[in-house]
């Protein structure tokens, strides 16, 4: 099977992770410059290059340093975190469709944030990340308690969907009992938005982002073993239960932090790892890094489109992501299927 899979790769001229990584980096650079350059205040190509050549006026400096740069960073870091969480959960559940929002982890965080916003509107915003984190962790704990003692990833996944639908009902009640103007604002946030990206948000998300390589280093090997199958992992001396808890906690931390910063980025956790895998069948740590990188790039690109679409309705980045991402996702699935079929 594996030799034929290699054939498939050769046909597509995709000789491995390195080149894909480099291509990703190049795409990141191009996207960065484009997204810094486009917006309500116009900046020329030269001016985008961090004002080394032309001095900026105050408006341009504001647009560049206070709006677009934090937005770019925030979008990338959020995309990175959610995609990484998705990739980890997929290894854990041994299923390519696992996703923080499908498992109810995002909904837990969302319910916590909504309860705070609706019941205590005056509360300092600093509490929101704490609430989101606690909400996500509570759902994760509930999930583990409900599937206690069962190794099957499928069970975790199904139980997650069940939790998700219950929590969605709670969200619906909360939205119904919210004054219209607040519910409208919440609906905007629930769709995922980078409109209010600023440096404080960037610095809030940055530590999680910065810590994620450590998680990749520590958990990458274990996840690779889990990918090989539970019996194999156990034979190689892996404490499966402990690994599972660790992965789940890391995924919750990453996805809740991103959720607080930009709202839920639905679908991304499934989409990005899938796209990355279609481009390059890496495994272990390389797989996680590629998935995360793809996630960051997808959000950056989606936000650039959302920001410059020029409509009266603000297109929240989450929706652009979903709309553009779904066809890509299907394509990626198709491609993997093609590879798998050509190999069997």
């Amino acid at each position: 099977m594996s030799s034929r899979a290699l054939d498939g790769r050769r046909v597509l001229r995709l000789p491995g992770g390195m080149q894909i990584g480099l291509a990703n980096l190049a795409a990141a650079l191009a996207l960065t410059l484009a997204s810094l350059g486009l917006g309500a205040v116009s900046l020329s190509w030269g001016e985008t290059r961090l004002d080394l050549l032309a001095p900026l006026d105050a408006d341009q400096a504001f647009a560049l340093y206070q709006v677009r740069l934090p937005r770019l960073l925030l979008g990338f870091m959020a995309g990175w975190s959610v995609a990484l969480a998705g990739a980890m959960l997929q290894s854990l559940a041994r299923n390519p469709l696992a996703d923080p929002s499908l498992l109810g982890l995002s909904q837990g965080a969302m319910v916590a944030i909504m309860v705070l916003t609706v019941l205590a509107p005056g509360l300092p915003p600093a509490w929101l990340p704490v609430a989101a984190l606690l909400g996500g962790l509570a759902v994760a704990a509930l999930l583990l308690a409900l599937v206690r003692g069962h190794a099957g990833g499928l069970a975790v996944l199904l139980m997650g969907i069940a939790l998700e639908s219950t929590l969605s009902a709670v969200t619906a009640v909360l939205v119904l009992y919210t004054p219209p103007e607040t519910s409208h604002a919440l609906a905007g946030w629930m769709a995922g938005s980078l409109a209010l990206a600023d440096w404080p948000r960037v610095t809030m998300l940055a530590p999680w982002f910065a810590a994620s390589p450590i998680a990749i280093l520590l958990l990458g090997r274990a996840l690779r073993l889990i990918d090989l199958g539970a019996p194999m992992a156990m034979a190689l001396g892996l404490d499966a239960a402990r690994t599972r808890v660790a992965v789940l906690i890391v995924a919750v931390l990453l996805s809740s932090a991103a959720l607080t910063a930009v709202g839920p980025l639905m679908f991304l956790g499934v989409m990005a790892p899938q796209l990355a895998a279609a481009l390059s069948p890496a495994s272990g740590r390389a797989r996680l890094v590629l998935a995360a990188l793809t996630g960051g790039l997808l959000v950056t690109a989606a936000d650039m489109l959302a920001r410059n679409a020029g409509t009266d309705i603000g297109l929240p980045v989450g929706l652009v992501l979903v709309t553009l991402g779904a066809p890509l996702f299907v394509l990626a699935m198709r491609m993997r299927l093609f590879l798998r079929m050509s190999s069997s």
Partner: protein, 332 residues
């Protein structure tokens, strides 16, 4: 037990209906209900409440409950998947998106939204099947991939629906409640427009009952008995989509029933569709009436949407069923 079940279920339904008509802000005794039905007098408040508020509401609840439960039974049978149900395989989300998109983008009249819901429900279901196939679990014996892709597709379609809602604050007001699954007499016109579509779907499912039972014995065996397997499956799935999409067109997406009712009824009627489907219709109508009663009374005078009550119950039931069908299995 099995023999007596239809009678018992019909009795229970009659009781639930009576309760739904009697209970509310004011208690109307059965004699009052009879009076309202037999000699309607529009100067009597009780008569007006029964005829214009409680009765339409009860009819919507019964129709939606029956249609969704039967669809659930058929989906579970044909797809051989204990978790298949209109809300989990993308039908509800697809129909809801189509209704909202029709109203927001094309300015469709409520009357035309029924066909939109039908098309949307069908597309949502096909999309779920497609993604399940792409995910590479086409031969997954426990049918998990379909449920997963149904959840993904529903999430995607739900996201689009939310986007549409954001785009028009005026229409948002009209559809926000409906999207939450709002069994209410204000949708009586929708009931008048679409009841026959749901009835058509249910009738088709009943007509297919015998063939579905044979199909349950296995495709080869059914084929040897002279059943056109592919055609029967297609017709049954089409009927299930038709019934559930028209229920969605009337009162918005309702969860829980399609998933749980077949599992509640099967031990009582046996797996034969000839008995299972009518049983599901009766039990589903009963449960939906009761959920609606809870929605009306739980926080009175504050109103709660029936869809929310069902969703909450459904989430919990879903968890129990995952434990039953998948966790036990994993232990064994």
């Amino acid at each position: 037990m099995r023999r007596g079940f239809p009678v018992l279920a019909a009795l229970a339904l009659a009781l639930c209906l009576l309760l739904a008509l009697s209970a509310g802000e004011s208690w109307i005794p059965p004699s009052g209900i009879w009076a309202a039905l037999a000699r309607f007098d529009e100067t009597r408040q009780a008569d007006v409440i029964v005829i214009y508020q409680r009765l339409p509401r009860a009819l919507i609840a019964m129709l939606a409950g029956a249609a969704l439960s039967m669809s659930g039974a058929v989906l579970q049978g044909v797809l051989r998947n204990p978790l298949a149900s209109p809300s989990l395989v993308g039908i509800n989300a697809g129909a809801a998106l189509a209704v909202v998109a029709g109203a927001f983008l094309l300015g469709l009249e409520p009357r035309a939204q029924g066909s939109a819901a039908l098309a949307g429900g069908g597309l949502g279901f096909l999309a779920s099947l497609g993604v399940a196939r792409l995910a590479g679990h086409a031969h997954d014996p426990r049918g998990l991939a379909l449920i997963l892709s149904g959840a993904i597709v529903s999430m995607f379609l739900g996201g689009l629906t939310q986007a549409l809602l954001l785009s028009d604050p005026a229409l948002r007001q009209d559809y926000l409640g409906w999207l939450g699954g709002n069994v209410s007499h204000v949708h009586a016109e929708r009931l008048a427009d679409f009841w026959w579509l749901a009835a058509l779907g249910m009738a088709a499912m009943l007509l297919l009952a015998r063939r579905l039972s044979l199909l349950a014995l296995g495709a080869e065996k059914a084929a040897s008995l002279g059943i056109d397997v592919a055609r029967t499956q297609l017709l049954a799935l089409g009927a299930a989509v038709l019934a559930s999409a028209s229920a969605v067109a009337i009162c918005g997406p309702l969860g829980f029933l399609g998933l749980v009712v077949p599992h509640l009824v099967r031990p009582l009627t046996g797996a034969r569709f000839g008995a299972l489907l009518p049983g599901c219709a009766l039990a589903g109508a009963c449960l939906c009436l009761l959920a609606d009663l809870i929605a009306r009374m739980a926080l009175a005078p504050l109103a709660l949407h029936t869809g929310v009550v069902l969703e909450l119950l459904g989430g919990i039931a879903f968890m129990l069923m995952v434990r039953r069908f998948y966790l036990r299995g994993a232990e064994a």
